[in-house]
């Protein structure tokens, strides 16, 4: 039988032994990070839950790494007995993102999957409740993807109350007063307001 007395190092050892392609790192006390190939996630979750006593699915997350053209799925598990947290990560294709549903291990994973389907456009095979969850009649890019521009959308869709057009930019006002011409390449370093 596997070692019951697994602190974070032993956990890491155990995972390494079983999943040889996994990149395992003990980040600090009680924290283990595991990078896995996407097809290894279901067996990993099953192994962690059934054999390593990681009974509690603390969290599931999805991160958009648009520059790599990938989505990262994150599973955070907690072992109540050993008090160790595993963050298991995997990357999947961003376009036509697809993953296998893990609701068979934890029923509540279904809610996360519904959310990621709606917000990131990930299709979870085996989850029959995908569809409208939080949004209603949403058309277009899933909004949590980083190429969706919320400020622009809000400005176009929702009315902006007029009356603030007289606002001036401090840097531009001073430059105009002194006759300074800030070259284009320098402007990358001008600190801007959230709306600019």
């Amino acid at each position: 039988m596997l070692d019951k007395d697994c602190n974070e190092n032993k956990c890491a050892e155990q995972i390494k032994k079983t999943f040889q392609t996994a990149e395992v790192e003990v980040k600090r006390e009680k924290r283990v990070t595991v990078q896995l190939r996407s097809d290894l996630i279901p067996p990993f979750l099953s192994f962690a839950k059934e054999f390593m006593e990681f009974k509690h699915l603390s969290h599931m997350s999805c991160v958009d790494w648009v520059e790599d053209n990938e989505l990262e799925l994150v599973f955070i598990l907690w072992n109540y007995e050993q008090q160790v947290q595993i963050i298991a990560k995997t990357r999947i294709e961003r376009v036509n993102a697809q993953f296998v549903s893990v609701k068979k291990f934890w029923n509540q994973a279904e809610t996360y999957e519904r959310e990621f389907h709606e917000m990131y456009g990930v299709n979870f095979v085996g989850n029959d409740r995908l569809g409208e969850f939080i949004l209603e009649d949403w058309e277009g890019v899933p909004p949590m993807l980083r190429d969706f521009d919320s400020i622009k959308y809000s400005k176009e869709t929702f009315y902006q109350r007029p009356g603030r057009e007289d606002a001036q930019n401090v840097r531009a006002t001073i430059a105009k007063h002194s006759g300074e011409e800030v070259p284009g390449f320098a402007k990358d370093y001008t600190i801007r307001n959230i709306e600019d």
């Binding site: 209603e136 009649d137 400020i151 929702f158 902006q160 959230i194």
Partner: protein, 185 residues
């Protein structure tokens, strides 16, 4: 008081004055927490600030309610329900907008899922400054509403009726799947 130029239509009769007096002292507020400002409603209504002193109290259904509180931001999904709720309310009816979110979007000015200016979609009688407004502000808002009612100026519902097309146009810009009964009040 007696302005000779006043329109016949605008002249208030004694009956209106009596009616408005009665109305302002019996404001039933629909229990619908549409946004985070709703958290200050319980303190306002319960023992510490006791809004019942002004004849303000909660009401469970729109049909019985006089006042609709929009307690902050409105998600587009809620907007649809709020419009439906408002239209179910019977005149006289009033809308109070709570805090920044109802005026120009508040904190959620750049959110893709919340409206920015409530008055484009519903007639608002009174706005209360704050994020969120304290119970004192809320009571002050009601006092303002009462004085508007007494003066016969809280006519948001009439405006809604008169400009229904304009409101509908704005509403439908946000709510794509418009499946609701016609406004018939």
């Amino acid at each position: 008081m007696m302005n000779p130029n006043i329109n016949e239509k605008d002249k208030r009769r004694i009956r209106d004055i009596v009616q408005d007096f009665a109305r302002k002292h019996s404001l039933w507020v629909l229990a619908y927490g549409t946004g985070c400002g709703a958290i200050e409603i319980p303190p306002t209504m319960t023992s510490r600030y006791d809004a019942e002193r002004f004849g303000i109290r909660g009401s469970a259904t729109p049909r019985q309610a006089d006042v609709l509180l929009i307690t902050g931001y409105l998600a587009t999904k809620t907007l649809k329900r709020v419009i439906r709720t408002y239209e179910q309310m019977q005149a006289p009816k009033y809308v109070i907008g709570f805090g920044s979110c109802t005026i120009n979007g508040g904190m959620y000015w750049d959110s893709y899922n919340t409206i920015n200016a409530l008055d484009r979609y519903l007639p608002v009688d009174v706005y209360i400054n704050g994020c969120m407004p304290r119970p004192e502000s809320v009571i002050q808002g009601f006092i303002k509403l009462q004085s508007l009612i007494a003066e016969g100026k809280a006519d948001g519902a009439d405006k809604y009726q008169e400009n229904l097309e304009w409101y509908r146009e704005n509403q439908k810009k946000i709510i794509h799947n418009w499946k609701m009964p016609d406004y018939n009040w």
